[in-house]
Symmetry: C2
Subunit: 340 residues, 2 copies
C-alpha cells in the first residue's frame, strides 16, 4: 500500500516534470531562434554598411576628396571591422554558402554548418590530418604495386590488387570531395576548382575500375596504361604531402591568432607562410607538368593503338584537363596573393 501510493506520487511528479521540460525546451527554442534572427539581421546590415563605406572611400579617394593618410587609416579600420564580422563569433550569423548539388545529392537537406568557430577549425584540422594519412597511402599503395610487379609478378600486374587500389581511390576522392564541400559551407575560401578536381578524380577512378587489366602474353605493353596511371598516383602523393605541410602551418598561424583574439593582425594572416608558398609552387608546377605528360602518354597509347580501350583515352583527356586547371588555378592564387 505504502509503496503503491508512493509510486503514484512519483509517476505524477515525473509527468509534471515532462510537461515542464517540454515547455522550457519549446520556449528555449523559440527564444533562441528569434535572438538568432536578430543577430543575423544585425550581421547582415553591418556587412552591407562596411561594403558601402569601402566603395565610398574608394570613390572619395579617386576624386581626391580625401587625404591619402586618412584614407589608409579608415581603410584599415574597415578591414578590422570586416575581420571581426567574418572571423569572429558573429560569422556564424552571416548567411552561409549554399550547400551545392553534390552535398544535397549524397546527404539530402541536412545542415552541415557548424555554428561555432572552434568546431569549424576542428573540422578543418581533421581534414588536414585525413589528407596526411591518405597522402602516405598514396605513396605506399601504387609504389608497392609497381615494386611487386617487377620483383614478383614478372612484369605483369594481376587484376585484383589493382582494382582494389582503384576502388580505394574512388572511395578516397568521394570522401575528399564531400569534406571539401563541407568546409566550403563552413566558410572556407577554397577555390571551386580544387573541388571539381576531385570530382574529375572520382570519375577517373570509376572509369579505371571498368578498365580491363589484361594478362600474359605481352602484358608489359598491354598494361602500359595502368602503369602510367600508377605513376601519376605516386606523384599525386608527393604533391599532397608538400601541400599539406604548407596548409597545416597556415591553419596553425590562424588558430594561434584566433586564440590570442588579435583580430587586427588577422589581416596580415598569410604573411608568415607566404615565403613557403614561393618555394612550394615551383615543385607544384613540375608535378603539374608531369601530370600533363602522363595524360599525353595515355592519349598516345590509346591513339597509336597499343591499348584500344576507351578508358585509356578518357583517363588521358581527364589528366590533361586536370593539369591545365591545376596550373591555371595555382597561378591565379599566386596572382591574388601577390596583389597585397
Amino acid at each position: 500500500e505504502e509503496s503503491a501510493k508512493n509510486i503514484e506520487e512519483q509517476v505524477g511528479r515525473v509527468v509534471e516534470q515532462a510537461k515542464e521540460l517540454q515547455d522550457s525546451a519549446a520556449s528555449f527554442i523559440s527564444k533562441t531562434s528569434s535572438d538568432e534572427q536578430s543577430l543575423r539581421h544585425r550581421a547582415l546590415s553591418l556587412d552591407s554598411s562596411i561594403r558601402r563605406l569601402r566603395s565610398l572611400l574608394h570613390s572619395l579617394l579617386s576624386h581626391n576628396l580625401l587625404q591619402p593618410k586618412l584614407a589608409d587609416k579608415l581603410q584599415e579600420e574597415l578591414e578590422r571591422a570586416t575581420c571581426v564580422v567574418v572571423d569572429g563569433d558573429a560569422a556564424s550569423f552571416l548567411p552561409g554558402k549554399a550547400h551545392g548539388g553534390f552535398l544535397r545529392m549524397f546527404l539530402g537537406p541536412i545542415n552541415v554548418r557548424a555554428s561555432r568557430k572552434d568546431v569549424q577549425l576542428k573540422v578543418k584540422e581533421e581534414y588536414n590530418s585525413y589528407r596526411d594519412r591518405t597522402a602516405l597511402l598514396f605513396l605506399f599503395f601504387p609504389s608497392t604495386l609497381l615494386i611487386l610487379r617487377s620483383w614478383i609478378w614478372d612484369g605483369c600486374l594481376p587484376a585484383f590488387p589493382v582494382q582494389l587500389y582503384q576502388a580505394w581511390l574512388l572511395f578516397l576522392y568521394t570522401g575528399l570531395a564531400l569534406r571539401e564541400n563541407i568546409l566550403r559551407v563552413n566558410g572556407s575560401d577554397i577555390r571551386p576548382w580544387w573541388i571539381y578536381h576531385h570530382y574529375l578524380a572520382m570519375l577517373m577512378a570509376l572509369v579505371s575500375l571498368t578498365w580491363e587489366i589484361k594478362g600474359q602474353p605481352n602484358c608489359a605493353q598491354k598494361q602500359s596504361g595502368v602503369q602510367l596511371f600508377l605513376q601519376w598516383a605516386m606523384m599525386q602523393g608527393v604533391a599532397m604531402l608538400l601541400q599539406n605541410r604548407y596548409q597545416r602551418q597556415r591553419l596553425y598561424t590562424r588558430i594561434a591568432l584566433g586564440k590570442a583574439k588579435r583580430m587586427d593582425v588577422v589581416w596580415g594572416e598569410t604573411a608568415g607562410v607566404d615565403g613557403q608558398l614561393w618555394l612550394l609552387c615551383p615543385i607544384l608546377f613540375i608535378l603539374q607538368g608531369f601530370e600533363a605528360y602522363v595524360g599525353l602518354l595515355l592519349l598516345k597509347t590509346a591513339l597509336v593503338g597499343v591499348v584500344s580501350e576507351w578508358q585509356v583515352f578518357f583517363c588521358g583527356i581527364v589528366l590533361v584537363i586536370m593539369a591545365v586547371g591545376n596550373f591555371s588555378n595555382t597561378v591565379q592564387t599566386l596572382m591574388v596573393k601577390s596583389r597585397f
Copy 2:
C-alpha cells in the same frame, strides 16, 4: 571636407557596431550553450527517472503489490511522459546516437544532427521522396537494358551501358547509406541491418564494375550472370516502391499527430498502418525468396564453370546473405510489432 569628416564618423560608427555585434554574438553563444547544457541535464535525469519508475512498476506488479488497474494507469502515464521527452521539443537535448564509422569516414567530425523536430521530419520526408525517385529508376534502368538486349542488341549486352548502370547503383547505394546513417543520428529507430544491407549493396555494385562484360560469340551464356543481376535489380525496384508507400503513410500519420500536439495518441502511432504491414510482408517474403534464388543461380553459374570470374561467385554469396538477413529482420520487426 564635409564628406571626409562624415565618412570618418561613419567608419567609426561601423567599427563600434562591429565590436558590439561581436560582444552580443559571444554572449548569445555562451548563454545558449549553458542553457542547452541545463536542458540536456534535465532531459537526461527525467529519462532515467522514467526508466527507474518503469522497472519499479514491473517489480511491484510481479510481487502483487499493486492493483492491475492502477498499474495500467501508471504505465500509460509513464508512456505519455516518455513520448513528451522522446518526441517533443526536448528530444533534441537527449544525447544523440553516435555518428558511426561510415559517416566519420566520409564526412569527418561534422555534426549532422538537426536540433529542431520539424527539420528532422523534413529530412525524413526528403529521404522518402528520394527513394521514390530512385525506385522508379530502379525499374526503368535494368528493364530498358534487358528489353534493348533482346530487341536491338541481339541477345548481347554491350559493356558501356551496363557499366554506367552499375556506376549509378554504386552512387545510389552510397547516398542511401549516408542518408540512413544521418536519419539514425537524428533519432530514427531504423534497424542496423537495413544500413548494413546498403553497405553490402555498395560492395556488390563496386565488384560488379570490375566484372568483365564478354561479347560474342556465345554471349547469351557468358552474360547469364549479368542478366540475373539485372533481374534482381528490377525486383529491388518493386520492393522499394511497395515499401515506400507504406513508409510514407507511416510518416504522414506521425507528422499529423505531431502537428496536432496530441502526444498522448502517439503511443498508438502505427495502429493505422499496421494492417498494411500484414499485406506488405507476404510480398516482401516472395521478393526475398527471389533474391535468394538469384543468388543461388549466380553461385551455380560460377561453380558449374560457365562463367569463371570470382565476381559472379562473390555477388552470389552476397545476394544470399542479403536475402537471409532481410528475411530474418522482417520477421523480427513483425514479432516486435505484434507484441503490442
